[in-house]
């Protein structure tokens, strides 16, 4: 073997240096590739786990806080208007809304670290909620004694809700949604870096292999071949599992978007119902422009509904049509001179009782459809995220193991050659 040492004086790189260099570069690239792929995959899986276990529940909690607060506005107005009647849907909804808001607020409150905006919003909600319920309680107590001042308390509570609590809930929702989006975005970046590095590693191994073959006249270095094969396994696995995971995350994001839209649509419906109820409660007073607000909210609702292709959207559109008709039926009670109580009693019944052909019934149907739509999309979101997580299963651990073995193989293969050129 020493004869080969003497032959290459003209060569720019001595065999020994070349072997050392090839060994060092290949090993370094294998190690860096292993670290990069395993850390990246583990990170993505951690992001997806965080999305499913923490970020998504909190985003949904924040979403529910906003939605339930809006509904509490409508439901309290409904309960107020129907103080004289028992068994309206408003009373139950108000109680359910508030207990859900409290539970969700506790969940959001448990993790406000890292966001001053979220802490401020959370504080505003925690401080404002008891004031809101106090005002509603006063309004309801007054209503049961037929004291007109109750309507003023109701309006004050509604203004507090709309001017302070809902914006705070909106902030909380934004922060939680952004956190979820950050998880999804981090897990959904493409695998260019990993694949380029794998390619570079394979090229380095092949170059080293060629160099060894030329300089040492040996046909194939089994250690390097083994290392190349293992790196190729990592590359192929990443090349297939990675884009699968990326697709799953992209699909998940689409479902989340659809859920978001369904919820925005539902919020418009809840707001519109609140407006028509408060409009009836405040009728004849120099306050509010609830009918205008209703028109605005329903315009939003209609444009969102038009573009909704969810499974429940058709039924929601039908219900929205009957709601439109039911609301028109209320207008005479509001604008035409009335000879007796009939129109009032009828308006109250249609607005507060789930009677067929009434606003309340139509609203409840729209609301239910949209919430089911949102729930379905959220379930699909979770399924897609889980699928994405599953696509990467085993890759991180396997990459570590393959890298270790590849390093050992390359090291062994090169050690044998290097020993010859000491």
């Amino acid at each position: 073997m020493t004869q080969y040492l003497a032959t290459p004086p003209r060569r720019r790189v001595s065999t020994r240096t070349g072997l050392r260099l090839g060994s060092a570069v290949s090993s370094a690239l294998i190690a860096v590739l292993g670290v990069t792929v395993s850390v990246s995959v583990a990170d993505r899986q951690a992001d997806l786990r965080h999305a499913v276990s923490t970020a998504e529940p909190l985003a949904v909690a924040a979403e529910d806080i906003y939605r339930d607060l809006s509904d509490a506005d409508a439901a309290s107005a409904e309960t107020f208007l129907s103080a004289a009647q028992a068994g309206t849907s408003g009373e139950e909804r108000y109680a359910a809304d508030l207990s859900r808001v409290s539970a969700n607020l506790a969940a959001v409150d448990a993790d406000t670290r890292g966001s001053a905006a979220l802490r401020a919003a959370d504080g505003e909600l925690l401080a404002g909620l008891p004031v809101f319920t106090k005002l509603i309680g006063t309004a309801l107590a007054d209503a049961r004694q037929n004291l007109p001042v109750g309507a003023a308390y109701l309006r004050e509570a509604s203004a507090l809700l709309r001017d302070r609590l809902l914006p705070a809930a909106q902030t909380a929702l934004k922060v939680e949604s952004d956190r979820l989006k950050a998880d999804d975005d981090a897990a959904g970046t493409d695998y260019t870096l990993e694949l380029v590095m794998a390619g570079a590693t394979i090229v380095a191994l092949l170059v080293t292999q060629t160099f060894v073959r030329r300089r040492t006249r040996r046909r194939i270095n089994p250690g390097l071949l083994g290392a190349t094969t293992l790196v190729a396994v990592i590359a192929v696995w990443t090349g297939f599992a990675g884009p699968d995971e990326g697709d799953a995350v992209a699909k998940a994001k689409t479902h989340w978007q659809a859920a978001d839209t369904a919820i925005a649509t539902d919020l418009a419906a809840v707001e519109a119902h609140g407006d028509e109820l408060l409009g009836l409660a405040a009728r004849g007073e120099d306050v509010g422009a609830y009918e205008n607000d209703f028109a605005k909210a329903t315009a939003t609702l209609d444009s969102l509904l038009k573009n909704d292709h969810g499974a429940y959207a058709d039924d929601a559109r039908l219900a929205r049509q009957s709601w439109g008709a039911a609301h028109l039926a209320l207008v005479p009670a509001e604008t035409l001179p009335q000879p007796d109580n009939a129109a009032n009693v009828q308006a109250l019944r249609l607005l507060t009782q789930p009677a067929a052909g009434g606003s309340d019934a139509a609203f409840l149907r729209v609301d239910q459809d949209l919430r089911q739509g949102a729930d379905a999309e959220e379930a699909q979101y979770l399924a897609a995220v889980r699928a994405g997580h599953g696509d990467l299963d085993g890759l991180a651990a396997a990459t570590v193991a393959l890298t270790v073995v590849a390093l050992a193989a390359a090291g062994y293969g090169m050690y044998r050659r290097l020993r010859e050129y000491r």
């Binding site: 090993s27 401080a127 003023a152 004050e156 009728r283 120099d286 001179p337 109580n341 050992a408 090291g411």
Partner: protein, 342 residues
Amino acid sequence: MTRADQRNRGVGTALLAALLTVAAALTAACSTLPAPPSAASSRAAANPPQLTPFPDGVTTMPPGPSGGVPVSGCEKTPRPGPLPPPGQMPAGSTMARISQRGYLIAGVDEDSYLFGYRNPSTDPGAAPLIGFDIDFVREVAKAIFGSPDKVRYKAITKAQRISSLTDGSVDIVADIFTVDCERAKQVAFSSDYFDAGQRILVNQSSPVRSLADLAGRKACAAAGTTSIQTLANPAYHVVPVSAVNWADCLVMLQQGQVDAVSTTDLILLGLQIQDPYTTIVGPRFTYERHGLGMPLGEPDFVRFVNGVLEKIRADGTWTAIYTRWVGDKLGPVPAPPPPDYQ
């Protein structure tokens, strides 16, 4: 030893160690301690902001140049002729037009307790609104049709009291309408059907007992009323707070955001009855006459309504209505206010 040599010299081995270190660091990163709460957040928790809101649309008015006008001097109204029997209105008259329609259209308040407010009854056949003002409208309907039920009520806002008459959407307005010269240019008023004067509503425990005690304190009145203008009189040194309506003033009094509510005593009574822990104090410091509003250009209808008022003053109906809604809560039941004819 060759294996020791290999370990010392193999570049890959060192990188493998690095790889394992990174993996260990990753595992450790999952169990970091939560950051301690900052000093700012614990201070905020110890002293959270006060959140009891004001009713929507509340403003504090700067003192203005205007003051209460005791009696405007524009109360003169056409003297009534003989009252035609119900159902036999003179041909071509405004009353005949209303009679042909089959019902009187009245613009009334829907949220003034005791005056015009929603009937709590869930009986569809009951009147939609009840109150002192409503009873006078029913008397006018009774004089036209023979039946007090032939009225259709249109709930109007304070701002609509004049516009609903000028645009012809109602025949008559009964909505605590103080007679003043500005309004008398736009609508016709009947003779005075109730007198009232501005007084002060306070919590029973309040030291305020008169207008003088209110100096430097906050008093609430509804926007766009003569009462808020009176409170803005610089001579009284009151801090006027303008709310959207009277119920909002009561809310602010109950929430401790104003020291008093001030307007005519009959409206104050409507608030006081809703909260027995408040009381009306001090003498009247304005004197306001109230009329039923009608469109200009229908003097026959004004004379007719004045005739109805003349009749019910005389036959005890006025006293019965006053007793029904106010009774002796503001002192003994007064005699009906005298008319002031042209």
